[in-house]
Structures are given as C-alpha cells and as structure tokens.
Amino acid sequence: MIELTAYNFSFIMMTLITILPALGIAFVNSLMRSLLLLILSFIGVAGLFVLLSADFIAIAQLLIYAGSISILLLFAVMLTPEISINNENSKYFLLASLGAILFLYLMILLITIFDLNQLTGNALNKLDFDNTIEQIGTLLLGKYIIAFELASVLLLFALIGAISIVRSSESDFDVKIKDSK
C-alpha cells in the first residue's frame, strides 16, 4: 500500500509522535502529565511541518506552541490545584465520545474526498522557491498586509484587556493583605 521510503518512514514516525501523545492527553488522569504529552504532540506537528519543507512554520510551531502556549497552559493548570493531580472521569463521557466519533467520520470523509497528493510533500515539487522565510515575509508585508496589521491590532486589544483585568484584581489583593493583618 505505502512504499517504505525514507520520507514515508519519517512521516509515519512523526504521525505516531503526534497522535499517540494526543490520545494520552485524553486518557491520562493527571493534568500535568497530559500537558507534557501535549508538548510532545506539538513537537510531532513541528516534525510534520519539517517534512513538508515548511521550515519557518515548523520553527514557529516549536517556538509558539511548544515553548509559549504550554507555559500559558501551565499557569492555567496551576490555578486549579485541586483537579490537577487526580482528575476524575468526566460525566460528559458519553457525549464526548459521540462527538469524537462524529469528528472521526468527518475526517474520513475529507480524506476520501480530497486528492491527498495535493496536500503532501509532492505538491512542493511544483513550487519554484526553496526559502520559505522570504516568501512568507514578502506575502505578509505585501499581499496580506491588512490582515497582518489587523491581527496585530487584535493582539494589542488582548494585551490591554489582560492588563485591565489584572489591575482590577490587584486592588482585591491589597484589601485581602490588609485584612490578614
């Protein structure tokens, strides 16, 4: 079915590194452990991008998801100390598994409908550049400049919103310190 070339072997390895930890995230009880598996899964996705010769996206995946988003999630887990170690099975188990089956069906549909050769590394052979960074830079600051700037404005709003939320809770903090004395 699949010819075992070096490329396909690496692809299978990277897929396993992506999917197996992803399964683990769902089934492991400790939130911290599932976070570790999530980071592993992110690294696997970065490996998949490398196989697609998308070096910049791969590095961005490592930097943003494995390095930074995981820290954000760490803080989120730290704020929920009670459930972080022994996380009981959810009461929505049935509903969630139903959703998972539906999603699987959707994925199978998509895979069978689309021509996979359009999506894998074979598509890259038709392109006439070897340096993705330059292309991404030119496109981001040329054709898609408005979307790029809008995204940065959105991030700025998010930043200001986060600061305003933190500042309002800071006053609570002061009051509680005084109460404890």
């Binding site: 452990r33 976070l35 570790l36 070096d55 490592l62 494995a66 820290i71 960074i133």
Partner: protein, 446 residues
C-alpha cells in the same frame, strides 16, 4: 673560555640546559602544531570522504544518513568534552579568583576531577520523594539535555563546518532553547517541594520576561544582515569588516545580559539562588540527576559563548589570523573567552532580587531595546541606499556607541539612580555618646 666556564659549570649547566630544552620544545610544538593544523585545516574534507566512502558501497539515502549521524556524534562528543573540561576550568578559575587552589588532586592539575565527580555522582542513590509525581520527576533531568544539545546544531564553527546550515538558524536556536522552560517547570512541580516550586516559578517568570529583549536584539541582527542563517551573519560581518558587537553595542549587552538571566548565571541566578531557595527547581534531585542539571547549565553557558561569538564577534574571523590557524580554533577561542567572562561575573557579583530583575527587564531593557531597534532600522534603510557601506557603517557604529551611553545616562536620570551614590550613603561619626538626643551631634566623615 672563562665565559664558557662561567656559564656551563655545575648546577648552572643544568639550569641553562633546562631553559634551552624548554625553548626547543616550544619551538617544536609550534612547528608541529602548524603542520598539524594545516592537515586538519578544513574538517569538511573528512566528512566529504566519509560520505563518498559510504556512497560507493550503498545508496545516497544511506550515505546521507550515515554522515549526518557521524556529524551529530561529533557535536555530542564535543558537548561532552566541554562539560568535562568546563567544570574543571570553572572550578580552577573561580579558585584563582578566590585565592584558593581548586581541585588539584586527581590527575595532573586535577584534570581528572570531573571524571571522579561523575563516578561519585553515579554511585549515589537516586532519591525520589514519596509524594512526588514519579514519572514527571524522572523525565526532566534527561529531557533537559535535548534542547541543550539540539541548540548546538546551527553553530558555524568554520566556513564549511555547520551541522545544520538552515535558513532559520536564529529562530531555531531560540525555539529549541524555549523548550527548557516547561522542562524546568515540570522538574520543580513534580518535586512537590515549596523551594522547588518557588525556583521553577521564578524560572518561568524570568524566561517569559527576558525572551522579549533577547528577541528584540536578535531582530536587530536579522534586519541589518538580512538573514537568519548563522554562517551568512558571520560572512556579512567580514565583508563589511565590522563586528556587529561594535556596530550595536546595546544589542550585544541586551543579548548577553538577558541570556545570563535565561541560563541562570550570576548575577541573575535567582532561580537557584543558594542563599534564598537553596537550589531552586532541582533541590530534590540527588546523585547524577542533580549532576545532569548542573552539566546542562554549564553547557548552556558555553553555548551562550558560541552564540555571542557567531552573532556579534565575527565568528571564525580574527584579523587575518584565520588564514594560518584553523578557523574552528579561533571560534572556540572566542567562545572560551566569553565563557571566562561569565566565570568572572560569577566570581564577582552579588545576585539581583527577583523584582529588581523584572523591573530591569520591563522598565529598562525592553523600552531601550525598542528605541535601539528603531534607530538600527533607520540606519539599515539609509545603508541600503548605497552600493557599498564603506565609511558610513563606521559613522553609524560610533553613533550607536554614543546612543548606548546616552541611553544609560537618560535612564539613570529617570530612575534617579544617583540617590544611592556611594558618597552620599557613607556612615558618619558620632560627636557624643547617648540616645536619641545625641543623634543631633552626628557629623559626617571628613
């Protein structure tokens, strides 16, 4: 004849013989070293030979695979050597700073001390706290080696000596080193110890803050050289005949200072501050597991030296000496110089406090880095108008140095640093002895 008798007589004969033989020995070493270095001037010949050798007997894929494995082994063995020699160097040099002798018992000059240390650490029992999350506890000491070794990949040792000659070199190192943060956090969290948790929270807070100035300084490097590839950055510096560290001293300072915060070196080693939180995130690790954390810290310090060398100090070029000495020797020499600077800092400075470091990052380094970045962007725009950079780049370098000094003055005025001038806070001498009444008779020291 009398002169001859005077010189070559009794114990003096042995003395002069010793002197002459030392001179001859040094001469032989220099000559042999020259021929030896000519033989190993370009190590890429050897990797090419291995590649061709395997290619004749097998297919292309296997040859590529084999030579890349051998290259990776070369880097790993170099890092291992660095860890062994580095710990000896650090201990000996700090001992010299502290008027001590340092390790001198195991082997000549104590050179085998790191091996003895490693054997001793391996013999020790690995204690796992009873309430620790055992899986998460045992992964970090091993996992933390991964980024520490992966980040050595794109380092340009010599013209044809770079294991990962990729276009996203700077981003790659930045991304890979950011993976240490969750690993350190898992180490601290799974220990279930308050000291460890404090240490890992400090690490995370510091890394989140200090990645911004680092990325701003790297961005300055990227816009002026127009590339993220390490080899091309080194070559840019030699074609324009200026070291980037001279062209933008503030970026060099930011990168160096913020990196010391990221790799937990004095004066920014608050994540494992010995006098406060004992050992920080690796307090519960014993034996070789603690040794691995320390080894990675040492390796990261040398890696910082290699990064500063290739980004700011013109890599393997050194005023034409690279034509006679193998370039990778020059590169390693510069790296060791930066590492010795780190040891010097460690032996000299006290430690900052956590909030002081955060204030420094957010109130000083980041705003000044942004100003510095804009100035350099303007300079790059002007430089791009001309065919050759010529004398203009030196004028800009001079301007940047004065900008650096000026910004220091402005920022010290903003935060009124001179309130704490040492002359103003000296003790005074009491005029008369007594309680609160006598305090009025206190006069200043002459």
């Amino acid at each position: 004849m009398s002169f001859f008798n005077q010189v070559f007589k009794g114990p003096q004969l042995a003395y002069y013989f010793k002197k002459i033989s030392i001179a001859v020995f040094i001469f032989i070493v220099i000559v042999a070293g020259y021929f030896f270095s000519q033989l190993f001037f370009d190590l890429s010949k050897f990797s090419q030979f291995i590649f061709d050798f395997v290619l004749q007997r097998s297919n292309y894929n296997f040859a590529y695979f084999t030579s890349s494995i051998i290259g990776a082994l070369g880097i790993i063995s170099f890092v291992g050597l660095v860890l062994l020699v580095g710990s000896w160097v650090e201990r000996r040099v700090i001992a010299k700073f502290q008027i001590r002798v340092g390790p001198n018992r195991v082997g000549p000059f104590g050179l085998l001390q790191p091996i003895a240390d490693a054997i001793k650490l391996m013999q020790k029992e690995v204690l796992v706290p009873a309430i620790a999350d055992k899986t998460l506890f045992l992964i970090p000491p091993v996992a933390i080696f991964l980024p520490a070794i992966l980040a050595w990949g794109p380092i340009p040792w010599a013209p044809n000596m770079s294991y990962l000659n990729i276009n996203v070199g700077i981003l790659y190192v930045f991304a890979v080193s950011s993976l240490t943060v969750p690993i350190i956090f898992f180490a601290g969290w799974s220990s279930m110890n308050h000291y460890a948790l404090l240490g890992s929270m400090r690490t995370v807070a510091m890394m989140v803050s200090y990645e911004i100035p680092i990325s701003l300084s790297l961005l300055s490097v990227a816009i002026i050289t127009g590339t993220l590839n390490f080899s091309e950055i080194v070559l840019w510096q030699s074609t324009n005949s200026i070291w980037l560290g001279l062209f933008m001293p503030f970026s060099l300072f930011t990168f160096f200072f913020a990196s010391t915060a990221e790799i937990n070196r004095t004066p920014n080693d608050i994540a494992e501050a010995e006098s406060e939180i004992v050992a920080g995130y690796h307090i519960e690790y014993s034996g070789m597991k603690a040794g691995l954390f320390m080894a990675v810290e040492l390796g990261n310090a040398v890696l910082l030296g290699a990064l500063v060398t290739s980004l700011f100090l013109n890599g393997w070029f050194l005023f034409g000496i690279e034509k006679f000495v193998p370039p990778y020797i020059i590169f390693i020499g510069k790296t060791v110089a930066i590492y010795l600077l780190l040891i010097w800092l460690r032996a000299t400075f006290p430690r900052f406090r956590l909030d002081q470091l955060m204030n420094f990052a957010w109130k000083t380094l980041i705003p000044v880095s942004i100003i510095n970045f804009f100035v350099i962007a303007i300079e790059v725009t002007i430089l791009n108008q001309f065919q050759s950079t010529g004398i203009l780049i030196y004028i800009f370098a001079l301007f940047n140095i004065f900008l650096f000094l000026g910004l220091i003055v402005v920022w010290s005025k903003i935060f009124s640093v001179d309130k704490f001038q040492p002359e103003k806070i000296q003790p005074k001498f009491a005029g008369e002895i007594g309680g609160l009444e006598a305090m009025k008779g206190v006069k200043s020291v002459d």
